[in-house]
């Protein structure tokens, strides 16, 4: 999966280490990568010489919001509603025979992810394996997403 790397993000930053955000530029890049900050928090990026780079950085990071419990970022605009993430989720497969056979979960089923209005939604993050410390690390949904609409940080 061609997920964004910290170095890729760093390339769009001013690299001056001015400290106005309280971090070095590399540190700021790591916060951007985990979606704990936004490009708008870097004052230097607002300068006229960085207008293009800021736009490119915004496009690179997308509008996805990180779910704190699972670290899953869903970029809804990239999702085509194919349901592959729903189909490969081990929680779904363990709890719902119909989902394992390819059908989408119904209302009221044990479900972490659900295709709502043709976009994937994290409907119950508490059930995700990533929210359970003792569960094996899982990234099946993001690994199989064909449009890179999901990212785990």
């Amino acid at each position: 999966m061609p997920h964004t790397s910290i170095y890729e993000i760093y390339e769009y930053l001013p690299k001056t280490n001015c400290g106005q955000c309280g971090l070095t530029c590399m540190g700021f890049a790591s916060y951007l990568l985990s979606r704990d900050t936004r490009p708008g928090d870097c004052p230097e990026l607002d300068g006229p010489e960085f207008v293009g780079k800021k736009q490119q950085l915004l496009a690179l990071l997308g509008n996805g919001v990180k779910n704190e419990l699972t670290g899953l970022i869903v970029e809804a605009t990239r999702c085509i509603g194919c349901g592959i993430c729903v189909s490969v989720c081990p929680v779904h497969n363990a709890n719902n025979r119909e989902v394992a056979l390819g059908k989408g979960p119904r209302l009221g089923d044990v479900t972490v992810l659900q295709v709502v209005d043709a976009r994937i939604q994290l409907v119950c993050p508490e059930l995700c394996n990533r929210a359970i410390p003792s569960a094996p690390p899982c990234k099946a949904c993001a690994d199989h997403c064909p449009t890179d609409a999901m990212e785990l940080v």
Binding site: M1, C79, I80, G81, C82, G83, I84, V86, S87, V88, N93, E98, A100, L101, G102, K103, G104, P105, R106, L107, G108, D109, V110, T111, Q114, V115, V116, D117, A118, V123, C124, E126, L127, A131, I132, P133, H144, P146, T147
Partner: protein, 434 residues
């Protein structure tokens, strides 16, 4: 994590779905020929306010109900006038070509066939040239095919040849062909090998174990080398030995093809290969067409095979079009006097105009949307969206008939269905002076 913080089954999901008047579950989506039967619609104030398990293709069709480019419904009086005008035009310019009844329900396809018989017209779908080539091979070699559920249960090697489900049939991989778990493929994608052959890099590439970008003239070479690796020389691709090995190990091979993206020779070689593998008896090799065409293309095929003996339409004006030289739009344009274009799916909005050789012919359009063909048409009859605004039967890509239901509670504008329109024209034709 505290035990108490885990919500009860579906509690959070329920919380987001209370604001509706009607809920419809297990509905069949007629957006593409996957015909997903697990879709839920939630309706409020005459509009669908939430959907579950609907992909982007289905969503596009649903949104097209209220799209700005929707044609306005007609009054009964102007409908009668339009029917009269249509018949006047079509009967004056014969033979008529009835084009594209592959996105409408079964009743409308049957009505279009009856109309073709009555008017002694040509009756063809949009994907007619590819379908003719496909069914030529079926006639020659026979056709080993299967239900998609059988593919899900048994296929351990799935190959998409010229077809990309992530472009045309978004839920195909998760519902049937790759990720879904089946009786003998209990680990889903872990029990399968996925390969794809395409003209260019496509979205499916990252999911494939083997992916080939092959120009059209190398299709045949690739099939030959896969069929007979010791005695053939094919494209020098690193994935060829891997796919050969996977083919040798496989016990059930399912190949999904879009014949419009394959050469005649390659299609012939594929059918020949399938027949030879099936004759040996150790491995099952099935071929399933995955048309980038109307949602009910399989319905058209079934009805066409049952009623007229071809899978790709018929020419009632002068016998069957058996000779390939008669079977291109260019050749047809010399013969066609006028065109009756029948559309009812959202994909119809993409077919903005007639095939180029037919442009300029007198045109009657039955369509829900405003589009280039409508602008160029002599008569336009607005129709309901099949599968959303009227009940009907659609055929899944593998030929399984499924009942689509109108979404009750939505404001549908009172459009007549394509079936009703065609029957109206037929009724008028019975009393038409000849």
């Amino acid at each position: 994590m505290e035990q108490g913080s885990v919500p009860a089954r579906g509690e959070r999901l329920m919380a987001t779905f209370t604001d509706y008047e009607y809920a419809h579950h297990s509905m069949v989506c007629s957006g593409c020929s996957c015909l997903c039967d697990d879709v839920s619609y939630y309706v409020k104030d005459g509009r669908v306010v939430r959907t579950l398990n609907l992909c982007e293709v289905g969503m596009k069709q649903l949104r097209s109900c209220t799209a700005e480019d929707r044609l306005l419904p007609m009054s009964p009086r102007s409908f009668k006038e339009c029917v009269h005008e249509s018949l006047g035009l079509l009967s004056a310019h014969r033979p008529v070509l009835i084009l594209g009844p592959d996105s409408v329900d079964e009743a409308a396809i049957m009505a279009s066939l009856q109309m073709a018989q009555a008017l002694e017209a040509m009756w063809l779908p949009w994907a007619f040239t590819g379908m003719r080539r496909f069914f030529d091979q079926v006639t020659q070699f026979g056709w080993a095919t299967a239900l998609l559920d059988e593919v899900r249960d048994q296929a351990d090697l799935v190959c998409f040849w010229g077809a990309d489900p992530l472009v045309t049939h978004h839920r195909h991989l998760s519902r049937y062909s790759f990720f879904a778990r089946g009786r003998y493929t209990e680990r889903g994608s872990s029990d399968r090998n996925l390969a794809a052959v395409a003209r260019h890099t496509t979205v499916i590439e990252p999911l494939c174990q083997q992916f080939f970008v092959v120009p059209s003239h190398e299709d045949l070479d690739l099939i030959k080398v896969l069929n007979n690796p010791l005695h053939s020389s094919g494209p020098d691709h690193r994935d060829v030995p891997l796919l050969v090995k996977a083919l040798q190990k496989a016990s059930y091979i399912a190949v999904f093809v879009d014949p419009e993206n394959m050469s005649d020779e390659a299609l012939c070689a594929l059918f020949e290969w399938s027949a030879s593998v099936n004759n040996k008896g150790h491995t099952r090799f099935v071929i399933l067409p995955l048309w980038a065409a109307g949602a009910n293309i399989a319905g058209f095929t079934q009805i066409s095979m049952e009623c007229v003996g071809t899978g790709w339409g018929y020419d009632f004006s002068g016998g069957p079009m058996i000779h390939p030289s008669n079977s291109t739009w260019e050749n047809l344009s010399d013969k066609v006097g006028s065109v009756l274009m029948v559309e009812s799916g959202s994909e119809g909005a993409n077919r903005t105009q007639l095939p180029e050789p037919l442009i300029g012919k007198p045109l009657v359009v039955i369509n829900p949307f405003k589009e280039a063909a409508v602008n160029a048409a002599d008569v336009v009859i607005p129709a309901a969206l099949s599968g959303i605004e009227n009940d009907g039967i659609f055929y899944r890509a593998d030929g399984l008939p499924m009942k689509t239901r109108k979404i009750r509670g939505i404001i549908d504008g009172g459009y007549p269905s394509v079936d009703e329109i065609l029957k109206g024209i037929l009724m008028e034709w019975s009393s038409w002076p000849r």
